[in-house]
Symmetry: C2
Subunit: 442 residues, 2 copies
Amino acid sequence: MITGWRHPARLVVLAFLAATAAGTALLMLPMSAESGRMTGFMDALFTAASGISGTGLAVVDTGSHWSTFGEVVLLVLWQVGGFGIMTLTSVLALLVSHKLGLHLQLTVKTETNTLNLGQVRAVVAGVVAISLVVEAVGAVVLALRFWLGYGEPFGRALYSGVFHSVSSFNSVGLALYPDSLVRYATDPWVCLPIVVVAVLGGLGFPVLFELLRRRRRKRWSLHTRITVPVYLGLMAFGTLVVLVVEWGRAGTLGPFGFGDKVLVGLFHGVMFGTAGFNTVDVAQLQPATMLAGDVLMFIGGGSAGTTGGIKVTTFALLAYVLLAEVRAEPSVHVMGRRISAEVQRQAVTVALLGVGVVMAATLVLLATSSFRLDDVLFETTAAFGGVGLSSGITADLSVTGQLVVIVLMFIGRVGPITLVSALALRERRRRYELPEERPIVG
Amino acid sequence: MITGWRHPARLVVLAFLAATAAGTALLMLPMSAESGRMTGFMDALFTAASGISGTGLAVVDTGSHWSTFGEVVLLVLWQVGGFGIMTLTSVLALLVSHKLGLHLQLTVKTETNTLNLGQVRAVVAGVVAISLVVEAVGAVVLALRFWLGYGEPFGRALYSGVFHSVSSFNSVGLALYPDSLVRYATDPWVCLPIVVVAVLGGLGFPVLFELLRRRRRKRWSLHTRITVPVYLGLMAFGTLVVLVVEWGRAGTLGPFGFGDKVLVGLFHGVMFGTAGFNTVDVAQLQPATMLAGDVLMFIGGGSAGTTGGIKVTTFALLAYVLLAEVRAEPSVHVMGRRISAEVQRQAVTVALLGVGVVMAATLVLLATSSFRLDDVLFETTAAFGGVGLSSGITADLSVTGQLVVIVLMFIGRVGPITLVSALALRERRRRYELPEERPIVG
Ligand SMILES: [K+]
Ligand SMILES: [K+]
């Protein structure tokens, strides 16, 4: 038994800080760089933080700057970050929710805030097993394509397959090519496996676990029944915006034929909420596409998954609160279940703090640079949402700006769940009740 | 007795539509234009909607396009809009809040949704009296300055004083000069009276009424005790951002001396939350200043005042909800009073719908124009917040774009309070309670 674990949220924060420090040290080693020279502290720190948080924003070009050793360090950072975030947030979620429907024979005692060590082991084993299987399948499919379709040597194709599959599942979105995946824009055998692997990583461990265990939709937990359709709906919205806005634009979808337009549109619609690879030049996207992307990146993916953001369930709960209020219903009902006032308030808190953090960071970046709102808001929402998309300003930010982005990546990845669990696990003081008064709203 | 008035919110919407239609017809008349030719439908519609809603965004130059008759039509539209919004929203607020602390001997029967006609008359009389007195004092101060300080003929100075005072109090922000008030940027005798008149209009009728009646702060209603400090605090934040970001910029504060910088900074810090006059070229503002302005314009001013936006109390309540959650307090307490879950949910709903409407409008404007996010978001938040500031794109928007802005101005002005009162006055169906389930948040 792990007892007296009063602030498990602290563990998450400390683990991420420690891993980032170790990653920074490793990446600074001369052997990590292609040039054989030491990499500067800020570049190494940024790359490590971006890797551990699975954000994938980059200040140096991945393929050309890092040696193969450096790339393996990156892979390990991504995988540790992915395992870590899924395990730790799943454990936190277990502590918070009495019942996740995980069928892990978990009898969580939230009164004492303790988890059986066996339960934690079961989560770790589940996370590792699911991650490795999905990554392996993705890696094999990609490797076969690189080998057979592009004639790459088998070893190189396999390495590339593993690299991009791990990058996808852990929502990193860094590729071995300076233009991300633009060269594969019209190849569904590369794009679609990456989409599938990235979506699986983004759905989050609790959903994946349940999907594997229970075939019948009716028996899914509320969490899964919200996450799956809303996540897919957000991706459909993203795809639609990309297609409508970029359809005839010379810099993006214009040059492609009908089918390829749809493929690229779908790829980017999905990538806003997952890994953040790109198959067109992000700097050429229209402001409308970028704004839609901002919203999708801010929301992120499923809870206890590999993306950042406020998460799909938080967004969906806010929509349900709004719907209940507009319908003048006293309770918030979602798919035959009632949502407690406590959970509603947690969702509101996560969203408000998310907006506050992103707005404050955007204001600081704007004030300390000469970039415009389109690019800066895209950068900050990408950092908060753990999406490695950038219109290209990352490397040109000042040290202050890069530190702000690092903090945002960190907050976006561990912030919401840590916050909610820290709040939910805290004992609530009973207070005397004050008389009610009603200010005018609106 | 006005009985059976089941949907008073409808009255607000209909009154605004009718006034806009009448204003459009009057402004289209040849005699309304300086040129003596008929003004086009879209220009007249936009000007009328902007005037009635007190937004002050403009597609034609006020001073040069409209004849004196046209300007008087504008003044009447602004005044009718100001009277209308303050009266109607005060009445709605009275219907919703059992007790506003207005000491109007109001015994509102919300069960039957009826108001005594005498009560409505008292509100109308109070609104008209306060408006006319504040506007008259502002007009006299401004007229004296224009007459004595600038040597304008007495009649012209008086007309100008009335015009700008009415424009200030009703949060319109349109001036008789093509550069707004840039020529008076360093004249505190023009700027400060306008600031004071605009802030009084923005505070809202319930607050003004209470400030006049009760000298001792301890006896103020919660509404007033929230609105006054938060509104002033938001203005201080705006002033600070303008000063810090624009201090040395050649296009804005750069050319001014220390004292004038502070005056211009204060003026703009206040104007984001009120009328939206400008004393520097808005198009020259830095992106950081514009983003801070976006936030302040989105929030707007006091309830039942002459600004738009989600309103200061809505913003403050969200902050208090967040604070209570972070402190793990089961109830939301504000200054010794408890805020019901119902009111919290109304504030969340107003804010979420506000964000949704502004984001949707921004997306449409971006997709149908070639402007960038800085300018478009500034335009949409200004329209929603009823602030007449623009970086200059209003007249260049497509017809679709202008219609979107018109709808936004309308929603921003009558939306939040109408929504809340429509919700609050509706009977709530009792529903069976469903079993509770807890999705993972964050
Ligand atoms: K990513
Ligand atoms: K205005």
